[in-house]
């Protein structure tokens, strides 16, 4: 479909969002990513039954942890779509980028420079 979406999105392949670990999400933010999101199958349609539900729990957990240390929890998100929904994927990529731009750069990057 070749739908345009922002080039600052880089994809890391995992077998299932159920393999997206809290450490991966937290680690990315800690190391300076402005945002990170997991894209899983539609709820109820996980190839591995419930991996995407586990991922959502973890994303929500990480959001809380980030809030606790004074960062915007919303830098980490979870999206769901089916593999036939290219336009939705592009729309989410754009939405996430716009959202992160509105939040501004990851404050940890500034701290690191100071």
């Amino acid at each position: 479909m070749r739908l345009d979406y922002p080039s600052n999105i880089k994809i890391v392949r995992v077998p299932c969002t159920g393999k997206v670990d809290v450490m991966h999400l937290l680690g990315a933010i800690q190391k300076g990513a402005d945002g990170i999101y997991a894209v899983g199958c539609l709820e109820g349609a996980c190839h591995y039954n419930e991996g995407n539900l586990r991922a959502r729990e973890r994303v929500e957990h990480v959001q809380k942890l980030l809030e606790e240390v004074g960062l915007e929890g919303d830098r980490v998100r979870m999206y769901n779509l089916s593999s036939g929904e290219g336009p939705t994927f592009a729309a989410y990529a754009k939405e996430m980028t716009d959202h992160i731009r509105s939040l501004g750069p990851n404050p940890l990057n500034k701290l690191a420079k100071v």
Partner: protein
């Protein structure tokens, strides 16, 4: 175009000067004459539409991959085959000829196929629900059912298309989700036929939760409101009143129709068709055509949904394969793989190949700069760029470079691993390097294709993606794919029609089968049935089937048998069985299991069934008609949905409507003067069964509809007969019918499999039916590999459906039994027991129940033969002592690190 050479780049379509109607989007947009039907097409190869092409030859000149064979012509090829499967499918009914609908005249009247495209994210409006006239979001949509189905009057199609009720509910549900404001959805229907497994729950969700309206009416006129483009629908409601309603849009739920080309094909092959051009079959041989050696499946066999089609496809494959079973294993080429070189102690030596993909990547991304950049990355000892890295000659070049530079890791920066990973892994293997030492950077689909307007950003991103992949490649480990032997004996549980058919088909192919039946004799529930609705003799069929099964020397039948113990995994099961009155214990070792435990008739608590011998079930009525005929039956009232579609049993039992019609017709044949009333909620005579419903009405059987809120009542009359009271919709008052006999269409209930499912760990739904691995794609597989499902153990169904499902299960089982060993995926979870604190989190969280605590060794074990490789356990392990091979934590984290190391 040569699909083997086409890379799917789309340059031909981009430059093709000719526009053509895009059929896949139902004409809502257009495409080029050089085109691909849809983005998910397999293979992803373009084609030239000869009808639209003007012959300019531009595409041939443009194609760098040399895939366009411009002067290619149609050729005839002769193939010598042992069997043929006819699966020509169907097309949607074209409603252009039905002038009262205004299709083709009013833009906002569209077919359901068109609406599917409108809902699709890849469709003409990218998934936004808009009406064609003005691209406005509709405020209300009406679905009109039975367009081109159940209509002998206007189009001559006397069959039900079986799928339209479900898809109308689905389309309405999705439309409601997609629309931002309120959307009124109304489905105009005669009967809602949601009789498949778990379909009733879906229908109820649409009606009660999503608020879809279901109107019992057939719309007779549609006219357009000129000012708005809205549509005025006129119809007569159930009480006989004329009604008018305005909708923004109308969707015609078009039925399934066999195309003229399929009819020609059948004629050429000498295969008999029925009056509606479906392939003529017998209920006891549902996928066998009139011509020996030719089988059929899908809608060409008869109207059906996807699960039914997929099931029949396997059934046809089973019979086609049985005919040529003796030739199994011939014509196989084995790829010689050299012995693997042990590189575990070696420092990583990574080779990076960057692909131009013609101009797909190279036209946007500065490929030489990416290759040069890659050369400077850690552990990279060789880089190259190719015009097409996937071409056959490049594979040879890669092999040479692997040997020449002693590469022990390979990174290809090109397209998607989904399509090309396997091929490059094989290239590695051919050099004696473990296939898992491979990593792909997708710089086409995830980069050059989508950032084509910003080549600089695309080049920078390509470098990022390559850097991430190189980092991961350095951390990849050699993985071994375990090989397990397959025990070639099969176990079939249940000796009814389904179980016997499955056993017989496997036995005929030369596999040893143990058939386990809990009763003293084979036959199951079919023992209680006399004739199918088509008039076929069930007992004669059963007799023959039992004889064939017992005579087959490959099949060992165990009756009065009970399964008491079970262990093992795909290819290697062991089951303990107590056999005979003396309960002699034996252990059977087997490679596959087919579950065919069946179902039985519900015993009604309703309508005086327990109190009056004049209230009987349909099965009992079948017995009575067989034994005594219709003598003394002047008035028979049948009540549908007894023990189905209620709070206790939510689902429809699927078979009772046709059962009632069958018995009603039987009574009318024996005694044309008898009055037969069928009190129903929706008559669900799907597919070709509709013909019998029509016939019953012609013969004078009276069908009276009732709502679940106003059910009929049965009471004894003073003269010993029965009185049935029902609210008549048209008269709008209660009607009393005197009956000699009340017949309850008692639903089906699953056999008691509590013990079996707990011993064998087989999942059942709340109604007690076993659950398939995937409703549509794997309808006869169970979630555990090597275990298959057929017959009424899966859900209520007709004998013909049970037979095709049994053949399908046998076919799926053959995919295991025909091999002597299977290679397991190496992508499985591994526990480091040293760090494990035995918290059992993994045991609780695994969606497949794989991790187990070995009480003897006191360790957690994950059996790699049954691990699905999702990685949930690895993520929940608080000690991080479980790792998923190929996706170990540092193999994922290093990519994030590599990305962020250079800033974003």
């Amino acid at each position: 175009m040569d699909p083997a050479k086409c890379t799917g780049c789309g340059e031909c379509a981009r430059h093709c000067p000719v526009a053509a109607v895009n059929e896949i989007n139902q004409g809502f947009d257009d495409r080029r004459a050089a085109y691909i039907e849809y983005a998910q097409a397999v293979p992803l190869a373009y084609a030239i539409d000869p009808d639209a092409c003007i012959g300019c030859g531009l595409c041939e000149n443009l194609c760098i991959a040399k895939a366009v064979k411009y002067d290619d012509i149609e050729r005839e090829t002769t193939l010598k085959v042992g069997s043929v499967v006819l699966s020509a499918g169907s097309q949607g009914y074209d409603p252009s000829g039905l002038d009262y609908l205004g299709y083709g005249k009013y833009p906002n009247v569209i077919t359901s196929q068109g609406f599917e495209r409108i809902l699709s994210a890849g469709g003409p409006y990218y998934g936004h629900v808009m009406r064609p006239l003005d691209r406005e979001e509709p405020k209300s949509i009406a679905w009109l059912q039975c367009i081109g189905s159940r209509d002998t009057n206007r189009c001559g199609n006397g069959y039900c298309s079986s799928v339209c009720c479900m898809y109308a509910v689905k389309e309405a549900m999705i439309a409601k989700e997609h629309i931002h404001g309120d959307l009124d959805c109304a489905v105009f229907n005669m009967d809602m036929r949601t009789g498949g497994k778990d379909y009733e729950k879906y229908f109820l969700r649409g009606r009660d939760k999503a608020g879809i309206r279901f109107v019992k009416a057939r719309v007779h006129t549609i006219t357009e409101v000129h000012e708005t483009g809205d549509l005025k629908l006129q119809y007569t409601d159930e009480t006989g009143e004329m009604q008018e309603e305005i909708f923004s849009m109308v969707v015609l739920s078009v039925g399934l129709k066999i195309s003229d080309s399929s009819v020609d094909l059948a004629k050429r092959l000498g295969v008999e068709l029925n009056q509606y051009n479906f392939v003529a079959t017998n209920p006891f041989a549902p996928v066998t055509t009139s011509r020996p050696g030719i089988y059929t499946c899908g809608v060409f066999q008869g109207p059906k949904d996807i699960p039914g089609s997929v099931t029949e496809a396997s059934a046809a494959a089973c019979l086609a394969g049985t005919d040529i079973a003796a030739a199994r294993g011939n014509d196989i080429t084995t790829v010689e793989v050299p012995a693997e070189i042990d590189v575990t102690e070696q420092e990583p030596r990574i080779g990076v190949f960057v692909c131009n993909c013609g101009i797909n990547i190279g036209g946007i991304v500065d490929v030489p700069a990416v290759a040069e950049y890659a050369a400077a990355l850690p552990y990279v000892v060789f880089t190259d760029q190719n015009l097409f890295t996937c071409s056959q000659d490049t594979q040879e070049q890669i092999k040479e470079k692997i040997v020449e530079h002693k590469l022990n890791r390979l990174v290809v920066a090109s397209c998607s691993p989904k399509t090309h990973e396997q091929m490059f892994m094989e290239t590695l293997e051919a050099c004696g390097i473990n296939r898992y030492l491979f990593e792909m950077a997708n710089i086409r689909n995830q980069n050059s294709w989508i950032h084509s307007n910003n080549p600089e950003a695309a080049t920078a991103k390509a470098k990022d993606l390559v850097r991430m992949s190189v980092a991961r490649a350095a951390r990849l480990k050699t993985l071994k794919e375990k090989i397990v032997p397959i025990n070639k004996q099969g176990l079939v549980i249940g000796g009814g029609v389904a179980g016997m058919n499955a056993a017989l088909r496997l036995g005929q192919q030369g596999f040893d089968i143990v058939l386990v039946e809990k009763e003293a004799r084979l036959g199951g529930f079919a023992r209680k049935l006399h004739h199918t609705i088509e008039g076929e003799d069930v007992q004669a069929y059963l007799e023959k089937l039992v004889q064939e099964v017992t005579a087959n020397e490959k099949i060992k039948v165990l009756t009065e048998a009970r399964i008491v113990g079970f262990e093992g995994f795909k290819g290697n099961f062991a089951t303990d069985i107590e056999v005979g009155p003396e309960k002699k214990l034996q252990t059977v070792k087997h490679g596959i299991i087919i579950v065919a435990t069946g179902a039985k008739e519900y015993t009604p608590k309703e309508f005086l069934y327990a109190d009056s011998d004049r209230v009987i079930t349909q099965v009992e009525l079948g017995d009575r008609l067989e034994e005594k005929g219709a003598a003394g039956l002047d008035s028979v009232v049948m009540i549908q949905c007894v023990g189905s579609r209620n709070d206790e049993h939510v689902e429809c039992s699927r078979i009772c409507c046709q059962n009632a019609v069958k018995n009603a017709l039987h009574i009318k044949t024996l005694n044309p003067d008898a009055h037969v009333y069928v009190l129903y909620r929706d008559i669900r005579t799907y597919g070709l069964l509709e013909e019998y419903y029509t016939k019953a009405r012609e013969k004078g059987v009276i069908f009276i509809r009732f709502d679940s809120e106003t059910p009929p009542a049965v009471k004894p009359s003073s003269d010993g007969d029965l009185l049935v009271t029902i609210k008549d919709h048209i008269l709008r008052r209660d009607v009393e019918i005197r009956a000699d006999l009340v017949t309850l269409s008692a639903g089906m209930v699953a056999e008691d499999t509590d013990e079996l499912s707990s011993i064998m760990k087989l999942n059942r739904n709340p109604d007690g039916y076993f659950i398939e691995a995937h409703v549509k794609l794997r309808p006869v597989d169970m979630p555990g590999e090597g275990i298959f499902l057929c017959g009424s153990a899966h859900g209520p169904k007709l004998i013909s459906e049970a037979i095709s499902q049994a053949q399908a299960a046998a076919s799926r089982a053959t995919t295991f039994l025909s091999k002597s060993e299977i290679r397991l995926s190496a992508i499985t979870a591994k526990v480091n027991t040293d760090n494990c604190v035995k918290c059992l989190t993994c045991v609780r969280m695994c969606p497949f129940g794989v991790p187990a605590f070995n009480t003897k060794e006191e360790v957690i074990e994950i059996n790699e033969a049954i691990c699905h490789g999702c990685g949930v356990c690895a993520c929940v392990c608080p000690r991080q002592t479980i790792q998923l091979s190929f996706y170990e934590d540092d193999q994922i984290m290093c990519k994030i690190d590599a990305l962020l190391a250079e800033g974003m």
